[in-house]
């Protein structure tokens, strides 16, 4: 087991390094750098001005050198201007001589400086990640139990009416990407002119003092910007629901498949013949074995949730990690984008590792060769 985890960790590191390099290379292509120079300087810079701007800031070194500097295994560049001003990757011209470092990269814990937000990348990413972590937590709290319940209920009696309606429901949710369900939810539940809200207002259930569904003009709020500081059911439920719904269908289908398989097993038949109550069979005999496969699926679903997070944060204007990714990529903010990709790649690889280990741990029949 130890060797297995060690080998997986090694492959993981290699993968992460390769992926980071690809991102690094793509963001450091010349047209991208040119755009960066023009947005940083001014849009009417001549080609020579762009070149000297980039040269000064070390962007025109070979990609490998720059990558090494970013990683922190190569000394950062130092530029000496003709007027005697000296600055480099790790210090500005005003830093005293003795405090100037040679190495400043990821290994030294220095993630660089965001050109869009004019802030330290490390703290920026950490802050936004916290916001998204909060969103993800609620998504998982809503998604996992409801998906498991739907799957188990559908799978315990294969072919029943309940099974068929729940399976249709899960197929429908897997066919609804976040940008579709989000749009429908906003129009239906968060618009003051359309959908349910005007109807409920008319009936006096909404929008007045002491009304059943609150005093707001709409049932839910179509923007989650306020939820970043003060999340309430009213302003936070729609984004959470939108992300959960798309992932839910898949987990529910996997749970159903695993549940139906378990329910046809010999030992379940024995239990039934013994005269055990049906609810006891489902809860005590079947459930534990049926939940092994969904565990893997849930872990592998987390990277997919990341996509949903980007879409939903853009749609609902919740300024978290996904929103940061869009901003960084849209403005070619190289160091921010690199940090964002390192985090997301790490999330993907870690969940894969956890799902592998968890599967082995949960299922005693699987032994690693």
């Amino acid at each position: 087991m130890g060797l297995f985890i060690l080998r997986r960790l090694g492959v993981m590191l290699l993968t992460a390094l390769c992926l980071t390099f690809i991102v690094f290379w793509l963001t450091n292509l010349y047209p991208n750098l040119e755009k960066l120079a023009k947005t940083q300087g001014n849009f009417r810079m001549s080609d020579e001005a762009v070149a000297s701007f980039l040269e000064d800031r070390g962007y025109l070194q070979p990609t490998w050198d720059k990558f090494g500097e970013w990683l922190g295994v190569r000394p950062g560049y130092v530029t000496e201007r003709e007027d005697g001003e000296t600055f480099g990757r790790c210090f500005s011209s005003s830093t005293p001589e003795e405090e100037r470092r040679t190495f400043c990269g990821v290994l030294q814990g220095d993630w660089g400086f965001s050109t869009v937000f004019k802030d330290n990348v490390g703290s920026l990413v950490a802050e936004r990640l916290g916001k998204t972590g909060f969103l993800m937590m609620w998504v998982l709290i809503l998604m996992v139990p409801s998906a498991l319940i739907v799957g188990v209920l559908a799978g315990m009696r294969e072919g029943s009416k309940l099974d068929r309606s729940l399976s249709t429901f899960s197929i429908a949710t897997t066919a609804t990407p976040e940008y579709v369900s989000g749009v429908i939810f906003i129009a239906l539940l968060a618009s003051s002119n359309y959908g349910l809200s005007p109807l409920l207002t008319q009936w006096g259930l909404l929008g007045s003092e002491g009304a059943l569904f609150g005093e707001g003009r709409t049932l839910f709020l179509g923007s989650a910007t306020k939820a970043m500081d003060d999340a309430t059911f009213w302003n936070f439920f729609l984004p959470v629901l939108t992300i959960s719904l798309y992932g839910m269908g898949y987990i529910a289908r996997m749970t159903r498949a695993s549940m139906t398989e378990v329910m046809t097993a010999q030992y379940i038949r024995t239990a039934r013949l013994k005269g055990v109550k049906f609810s006891d069979i489902v809860l005590k005999h079947a459930l534990r074995n049926a939940l092994i496969a969904p565990f893997t699926v849930i872990m592998l679903q987390i990277p997919w949730l990341l996509n949903g997070v980007v879409i939903v944060e853009t749609l609902f204007n919740y300024k978290g990690f996904g929103w940061l990714l869009v901003q960084a990529a849209g403005n070619n903010d190289i160091e921010l984008l690199l940090a964002v990709s390192v985090v997301s790649v790490a999330v993907v690889l870690l969940t894969q590792l956890i799902s592998d280990i968890g599967y082995v741990y949960l299922n005693p029949r699987i032994r690693i060769s």
């Binding site: 906003i186 129009a187 968060a190 359309y194």
Partner: protein
């Protein structure tokens, strides 16, 4: 002119429809609740020794639900069929139904022909034995026909998808066109968008973009995945290790990040998508060449002309796909000349090429993993051993023994993957990547409509629902196919 209502002169039916729909939903909820309670069916032994069970309350509710379901479907059919005859007299639904007439005819002809000859049509014919499969197929074909008839032949659309009409900005569905001229369609059936263009026509035009790109991109991804996955699974060893590592590398990338990195104007300038296209589009050629060669290499007199003709046509198609205005890559520092313009018969604008390439690139590793897994499984079968004993070459075994036996799961995955590709295309449009902003495709339209979502939702809701139905149809189709292919 009066604005159209949704059902026009058929509005008398609305109350009945709402009643039936409400009762149907209520019935389904009751049914679910009842099924949670264990039923104590009373069984009676008949005189002839047979048992008969009382269906009880759940059976009664079941019958009711069935009736309400048929009532709802029946009323919807009345709306649609009367709409074909009454046109806008039957409101917006009638008007749309009349516009979709070519699609209805094509659908009915397809279904009539397929059901008549279903025993001779193999797996496709078997699809018509499963209700779920037929529903899925009907929805998918509805959009395919709409895309083809509306996108190429301009049959269904009411207005030009780019022209703006004065005073129609953000107008509600069914608004009459101000100052409509003779011969011009007098209404915006699904309203106007924020640039005063007709939402309905853009919807139809946009379906063509989706119907064209999604299956083709999926097909290319399958070619790449199959060509690499079969040898990886069959040979194993170093080749497998390297290919699997690369596939996992791409899979570990969050899709959206990859899109943001690949589909930007700056990256297009460097020509990287063109290089990727040049590499990825070669795979169909390799696939077909190996497929034909491994089968016919014992008959060189037949194989050589066959290969020459097939590969010649495919190479021509390949070159015209990757070249644009006579160049393959044209960036600031250098130019690689391609096929001259007069031989270039596939117009592939660079922004579509980028979208196409990135979607193929994202999909192929997953296909690779599936094919590799299937090949690993099938290569242990007896008929593969028999072929090896006969002395068949490895490529013959892979393409003519393993691949046909893996077709069931692959066809099912193909359907699901088209749906997934549709979602990806929508995601690209939603972030305004790739296709230009006036493109009528559904993702871009949703993106344009979402800014005014709570005030004028119709411009975003219409494409959102269309995308939902298409992907749902593909999922149902895949389910039906899976069911039928398991039955063999």
């Amino acid at each position: 002119m009066e604005p159209l209502t949704w059902t026009g002169s058929l509005s008398g039916l609305n109350l009945i429809f709402q009643l039936a729909l409400g009762l149907l939903i209520l019935g389904i909820i009751v049914q679910i609740l009842i099924s949670l309670v264990p039923s104590a069916d009373s069984r009676a032994v008949n005189a002839d020794g047979t048992l008969s069970a009382n269906t009880g309350i759940s059976g009664f509710v079941g019958t009711l639900v069935n009736w309400f379901f048929f009532a709802v479907v029946g009323i919807i059919l009345i709306y649609v069929i009367l709409g074909i005859f009454m046109g806008t007299g039957a409101g917006i639904i009638g008007g749309m139904s009349r516009q979709f007439l070519p699609t209805w005819i094509a659908l009915i002809v397809t279904f009539a022909l397929s059901i008549t000859y279903k025993r001779k049509l193999g797996l496709y014919g078997k699809l018509f034995d499963s209700t779920v499969g037929m529903i899925g197929f009907a929805i998918v074909m509805f959009w395919v026909f709409t895309g083809v008839l509306g996108g190429i032949f301009d049959l269904i659309v009411t207005h030009d998808s780019l022209s703006q009409a004065s005073g129609m900005k953000n107008k509600l569905p069914g608004t009459p066109l101000r100052g409509a001229e003779e011969g011009e369609y007098a209404w915006y059936l699904l309203g106007g968008d924020n640039l005063a263009r007709d939402v309905f026509s853009r919807l139809v035009k946009g379906s063509w973009v989706v119907v064209l790109i999604a299956p083709l991109a999926t097909l290319f991804a399958f070619m790449v995945g199959i060509t690499l996955g079969l040898p990886a699974g069959y040979y194993g060893g170093k080749l497998d290790t390297i290919l699997s590592f690369v596939a996992n590398l791409i899979l570990a990338f969050p899709v959206i990040l990859l899109f943001f990195l690949l589909v930007t104007p700056e990256i297009v300038l460097t020509g990287i998508p063109n290089y990727m296209a040049a590499v990825l589009f070669v795979f169909p050629l390799i696939f077909v060449a190996v497929l034909l060669n491994s089968r016919y290499y014992t008959q060189p007199s037949f194989r050589t002309p066959l290969l020459a003709v097939v590969l010649g046509v495919m190479a021509w198609a390949y070159l015209s796909m990757i070249s644009n205005d006579g160049t393959i890559i044209d960036n600031a520092s250098y130019t690689i000349p391609g096929l001259p313009t007069f031989l270039d018969w596939i117009p592939m604008p660079s922004e579509i090429l980028v979208v196409f390439v990135s979607v193929v690139f994202v999909n192929s590793p997953t296909v690779f993993r599936i094919v590799r897994g299937l090949a690993l499984d099938i290569k242990t079968r007896d008929y593969v051993a028999a072929a090896q004993t006969r002395g068949e070459g490895p490529w013959y075994i892979m393409l003519w023994e393993i691949l046909p036996n893996a077709r069931g799961p692959l066809i099912v995955d193909f359907c699901l993957r088209i749906g997934y590709t549709t979602i990806l295309l929508g995601t690209l449009g939603f972030f305004g990547l790739g296709l230009e902003s006036e493109s009528p495709d559904w993702g871009s339209t949703i993106n344009a409509g979402r800014r005014l979502l709570s005030l004028y939702p119709h411009a975003a809701i219409a494409p959102a629902l269309s995308l939902l139905t298409l992907v749902l149809g593909l999922n149902l189709l895949a389910d039906g196919l899976r069911e039928e292919s398991l039955r063999d």
